[in-house]
Subunit: 485 residues, 2 copies
């Protein structure tokens, strides 16, 4: 599993222009060495789901490790004729030196949690905003959608088939990577197999059938070529009258005598529930009970759920545009907000952004994020956001309270408290332990299993608790009061 993306365009300049105008302004105003804290968090789960899946951290790491301004970048910035020459020289010698904490890929995440925190000189911490958000927003969006679709399939295989409708090459490649984290078992995107080891799958398009003189001839040619993995597309002309009978004929004539079993048939149009049930019977009667039926064509979690409820005989699903763009909600709304500034003595001054819209008020301070698991059931009880130096002692009872309705309190006992984030950069150096994509995917499945079923419903899920520690709540409340009066 080699990564050939090292050759890729340096993406340092994939940044909003205002990050540079601000950086230049911080520099000339003497803030070059001011240490700040930024948090990434999101406000709601796409599709009104109960949780999202964190993804994209590996690509964020690659971006941060490769941050460097090329000669062309420097020329470009100088040509803008609005930046201070000393600032440009600073960029020429730019060396990323921030600390970064992140929730590991594959973890279920919830609104308002600081899923990433960056600590470092304001010029740097500000500059990386655009790519940090782009990377995590994109992959978390797709991993979250994939996880919904995979759950709808109830253990059946889901393959990512959407490259041709992806929003750009990275949309296809990294989207397929994220879909794998979320639980897909493979992709049609060959380059994602080559670079990330996500198994590439696929057999034939309708054009294969059309090119031959007949469907039967096309099937025969395919079966001869790929006897050990022969999946035939049966809907070019007529699934039940032509496709399935021809497939059975070819299985019998080309595979069985050579000691092979058919891999499957694929249905890509029509009423798949009806067709798959009829096709199943035909295959079974012909002695091909082991021949799988694959469905594709504008699928998503809702259609798959309904098809299975109506008894569709489908063993695997190929899901395209609705997965690779998360078309029902194609935006993961992560934001990146200033939460603190260090003074000359190194004291952290908490920063808050006030808004008339209560949901848009940020949580100040350098923070930590904990997940409490019930020791008996293993289920996740709640997440707690604390000050960075607080420790949740799970040998003692802990009182949770709703930060919006503080009279709602609940004491938990017999739980395990886990720090949810890991430090991935220290003084600009990556210290994250490398993780295999299969390991991330497995971790994701296990973590989703720790959620109560109520949280995993597609519609109207139970809202998982994300609470603040008393100390953090006190600081936030004090800052709000100070701003209001």
């Amino acid at each position: 599993m080699k990564n050939q993306n090292d050759l890729k365009t340096n993406l340092t300049m994939l940044t909003d222009f205002y990050e540079i105008t601000m950086a230049n302004g911080y520099f000339t105003n003497g803030y070059a060495d001011t240490i700040v804290y930024f948090d990434m968090f999101f406000r709601r789960v796409p599709d009104d789901g109960g949780y999202a899946i964190m993804a994209g951290v590996q690509q964020l790491i690659e971006y941060l490790e490769n941050l460097t301004f090329t000669k062309e970048d420097i020329e470009y910035l100088r040509d803008c004729k609005i930046f201070n020459e000393d600032f440009i020289r600073y960029l020429e010698n730019f060396k990323f030196s921030c600390d970064v904490w992140a929730v590991p890929e594959g973890t279920p995440i919830f609104p308002v949690e600081p899923i990433i925190t960056v600590r470092g000189p304001v010029i740097q911490a500000q500059f990386i905003e655009t790519m940090l958000l782009l990377t995590i927003n994109h992959q978390s969006l797709i991993a979250t959608k994939a996880n919904r679709i995979v759950r709808a399939a109830q253990g059946r295989a889901v393959m990512e088939f959407g490259s041709r409708r992806a929003q750009g090459a990275d949309g296809a490649i990294l989207g397929a990577r994220a879909a794998y984290i979320g639980g897909c078992c493979g992709t049609a995107c060959t380059i994602c197999d080559r670079d990330y080891g996500v198994k590439a799958l696929g057999t034939m398009a309708h054009s294969w059938i059309q090119l031959f003189d007949s469907e039967l001839e096309a099937f025969r040619a395919y079966a001869r070529e790929y006897p050990s993995q022969c999946t035939l597309l049966v809907d070019t002309y007529n699934v039940l009258k032509s496709g399935v009978p021809n497939a059975i004929k070819v299985f019998n004539e080309e595979l069985v005598p050579r000691g092979f079993r058919p891999a499957g048939i694929r249905i890509d149009s029509g009423d798949i529930t009806y067709l798959s049930r009829k096709a199943r019977k035909m295959l079974d009667s012909a002695g091909f009970e082991d021949c799988k039926i694959c469905a594709s064509n504008s699928l998503d979690e809702y259609i798959i759920r309904d098809m299975l409820m109506q008894g569709a005989c489908v063993d695997s699903f190929g899901v395209g545009e609705r997965l690779i763009t998360s078309s029902s909600e194609p935006v993961f709304g992560g934001v990146y907000k200033l939460s603190g500034v260090e003074d000359a003595q190194g004291n952290i001054i908490p920063k808050i952004k006030i808004s008339e819209n209560v949901a848009k008020i940020t949580t100040p301070c350098f923070k930590n994020l904990w997940r409490l698991y019930d020791r008996e059931s293993g289920k996740a009880i709640a997440d707690v956001i604390t000050l960075h130096d607080e420790v949740i002692d799970d040998s003692k009872p802990y009182e949770l309270f709703d930060p919006d309705h503080i009279w709602k309190r609940k004491t938990v006992t017999n739980f395990r408290a886990v720090e949810l984030r890991e430090k991935i950069f220290e003084h600009g150096k990556c210290i994250a332990k490398p993780r295999d994509l299969d390991e991330i995917r497995e971790y994701c499945m296990k973590q989703v299993d720790t959620l109560w079923e109520e949280v995993t419903r597609f519609e109207n899920p139970h809202q998982y608790y994300v609470d603040l520690s008393q100390k953090l709540w006190d600081v936030k409340n004090r800052l709000i009061s100070e701003h209001r009066f």
Copy 2:
């Protein structure tokens, strides 16, 4: 305007795996040299609009020019252990040799038209399907959405601000390029300026304001740094009580004495219609009638239309996630279908894909695409799809007819017939004339102006005529009949 993307990962392997299994099968079945015709077309306009905007041809050209299998690709394919060794050697020496015709970027396009046609050996013409669709689908989607938003703004500037919510780096960079073609005047995406010359714009985020001791201090620092292009973000605390008064104070204290005029203020939250009207009055009273007001925050064509209808005093719009992902409909459903095969004598055998769903029946044959313009008004009357060797003689009356309801006929006179597509590859060599992005953008605006207003409505637009020539209709009808009986 240099393009540094040459360094980018070779995207040859960004292809659906089945393109390779089919290619191998064509090869081993003796179809390596079979010449085929494929068309790209789409079935409906996103957002139920009246037309789409073609975009992405330049990136398709770059992809086709760089088609080559690296040593690593070949190793990967060999490791799959299902491909014929002669086929792998063929790929090692792969040289693209197809002819390609495409509608130029910036052109309004309509459903069922062959916007791209590829002629060449089936292995090649099939192989490029995924990237051809991905590239054109993505950029046409965004150019189409941008054009809607720009029209809603009625001449006011629209800037693309969505990088952080884009689906991957290319989603941001090429999305910004496509948005420019569709009519945006600039982008926040710096790298898109460096590489494509799309003017990068942007001033400050809320974090800039938060970092200083006060909003006033933050504004002062910014005005001193950028006196000639000073746009201040006025909604961090309170637009009317704090933001605008502080901006006016700073304009007066920092800009006017030094001979500068303010560039603008930006409002990013709250009821922008109300706030902009109040802010306009305050700025005017202070003698800053020339100070522009920029609005941002979850905008799209509908919100902009409504804001302007309600008298919002906004001079420019920054549009983010709803543009860069086309969030109301994030998929452009272009497809790529076989339309003909040459026999040994070079005769073109037309191919059709039949479907119970009438809209999914393809149009066979090697075709050409014409647009008829009224000589008097300059307006586009209809598009006509003909056989490739038909000529529409615009010195004579021409009879249009509806291909679905053939009794609907109309004879047009005094028109100009223009072939809509240009040949961009001949025997695998690019022969497209290079076009400047500004030129494409201007061409787009002019071409949209040739559409009747009825066609450009956001909702329920008039359906523009896309007709078949009598000869083409006859072939299609004959093939349908042959398949049915």
